[in-house]
């Protein structure tokens, strides 16, 4: 489902003497449907960079980034947009939404984007918000005013609303209490059971061991280290 072949990434800082900073080299990775792979490595080793390359947020310098058959490294913007809409979900650590939109709609949005009927989408959103213990009285408010933990849970609800065949999870259990952490872990397990291919970053070692099938140490892809 997700496959990286010899991917490299570097940043060229044109405004700082055109310094070229290589951050990733020879990254290869394969995740099958129903499999969850954890990215590990020290802070700054390039876990988030790799996730962003897969999502198309960062442009790979070379190599192939195949998600559901599409090479994200070379795809047209609209192909990537369609991929993100239908196939590839991303739960980031930060919630980025337009102010004023009610939480329930924020969560339902990915479903509406794939053409789901409105009431069904809102029902699904409500179910997820309930599971993640967001009090119902907050559903009609914009999540921009919520606490960090609440925002994180809204973000997770949104990420799991549509059943993406491929998912990227960036610290999904960070800053959650034990009960909500359990809910998130079961959401991940359910996603795996329905065949989703998942790449995640988990600092929470226990969570990682419970949901991940394998670990990939991204330090191997750090230029100069692997060589």
């Amino acid at each position: 489902m997700i496959e990286l072949k010899d991917v490299s990434k570097s940043f060229t800082l044109h405004n700082q003497g055109s310094a070229v900073i290589p951050v990733m080299e020879g990254a290869s990775l394969k995740v099958a449907p129903g499999e969850c792979v954890a990215l590990t490595g020290a802070s700054g080793a390039g876990k988030s960079t790799l996730m962003r390359v897969i999502y198309g947020n960062y442009l790979a310098a070379s190599g192939q980034v195949l998600v559901g058959g599409l090479d994200v490294a070379k795809a047209e913007p609209r192909e990537i947009l369609a991929l993100r809409r239908e196939t590839l979900g991303y739960v980031s650590q930060f919630l980025r939404v337009v102010p004023r939109v009610p939480t329930l709609e924020v969560v339902a949005e990915p479903l509406l984007a794939v053409g789901c009927e409105k009431q069904a989408a809102l029902d699904k959103a409500a179910e997820l918000l309930k599971r993640l213990n967001i009090p119902e009285r907050l559903w009609t408010l914009s999540p921009t005013t919520f606490s960090g933990g609440e925002q994180q849970r809204v973000n997770i609800a949104r990420g799991f609303a549509h059943e993406y065949p491929a998912m990227l999870l960036d610290e999904p259990t960070a800053s959650l209490d034990a009960q909500n952490r359990e809910t998130v872990l079961s959401l991940i397990k359910e996603a795996k059971e329905r065949g989703a291919a998942i790449v995640g970053i988990f600092h929470d070692v226990d969570a990682r061991e419970r949901v991940c099938d394998r670990e990939v140490n991204v330090s191997e892809f750090t230029p100069g280290v692997a060589a």
């Binding site: 044109h14 442009l59 913007p77 004023r100």
Partner: protein
């Protein structure tokens, strides 16, 4: 799938000076494209060439018309082009007063495009006008007020209603949130986003505000000195800019 708009090799010169040159892209149904760049970068010239307000010196602007499929709007007859701009196209000006009739009531402003395409039932026109006021969050009671009595944000929302009432498929926007308070901007952006999704609109938005494109645009084109220096997915261009100028532009934004 045929792109809704295919732009090929657009060039506009002002004497020896380049307005914009060698601009090409495809825009598909439902896509929102942002064009950013500093003042004088050619983004407004480009927008005006695309919308038929300026005649480009070279290039094609091929629009997938409902009746005849893809047609080059640069070479089509003026009546056809004007008809297009009253029906399938819309243009939202930066200054609402450029896009509104200030001496005509809000209802009359919204109704104009309907009457222009042949609506002759007062009651229906008025109902549609009131419905659209609601959609842009203006009270129905204001339907007979003139835009001069409206705040800047309301005027801009009225301009949007006036443009969208005929169900266009392509909207051109020139700095739609420029000159508005930040809180008013947010409301307008949210509104635009909702309308774009509900109506399946395609849009081309010229702005110098990167926050606006991040929220509204799927794709981004960065212009400098009349040239497109970088284009791609909005978040990719903003988070991983490749061109020196884009990097400068992104790093120049004050973080809050």
């Amino acid at each position: 799938m045929t792109p809704l708009l295919q732009v090929k090799g657009i060039e506009k010169r002002y004497g020896a000076r380049i307005g914009c040159t060698d601009v090409g892209f495809d825009l598909y149904r439902g896509e929102v494209m942002g064009i950013v760049g500093e003042s004088g970068s050619g983004k407004s010239t480009l927008l005006n060439c695309l919308a038929g307000h300026l005649e480009p010196d070279a290039g094609q602007v091929v629009f997938d018309t409902r009746a005849d499929g893809p047609v080059d709007t640069v070479t089509m007859s003026e009546p056809e082009r004007r008809m297009l701009s009253r029906t399938d196209w819309a243009f939202v000006h930066q200054h609402a007063r450029d896009g509104l009739r200030m001496s005509v009531s809000a209802g009359g402003n919204i109704g104009e495009r309907l009457m222009a395409v042949g609506d002759r039932h007062y009651g229906d026109i008025r109902d549609k006008a009131i419905d659209w006021l609601g959609r842009v969050e203006i009270e129905a009671a204001r339907v007979d007020d003139r835009p001069t009595a409206f705040s800047g944000g309301m005027q801009q929302r009225l301009q949007i209603a006036r443009n969208l009432v005929t169900g266009p498929r392509l909207v051109f926007m020139d700095e739609p949130t420029g000159g508005l308070d930040v809180s008013v901007q947010a409301r307008l952006l949210d509104l635009l986003r909702g309308l774009v999704r509900e109506m399946g609109l395609s849009a081309i938005i010229v702005t110098h505000d990167l926050a606006v494109v991040r929220l509204l645009a799927d794709r981004l084109m960065v212009m400098k000195d009349g040239h497109v220096v970088e284009a791609g997915l909005t978040d990719q261009v903003l988070d991983d800019p490749q061109h020196a100028y884009t990097q400068l532009l992104v790093s120049s934004v004050l973080q809050v």
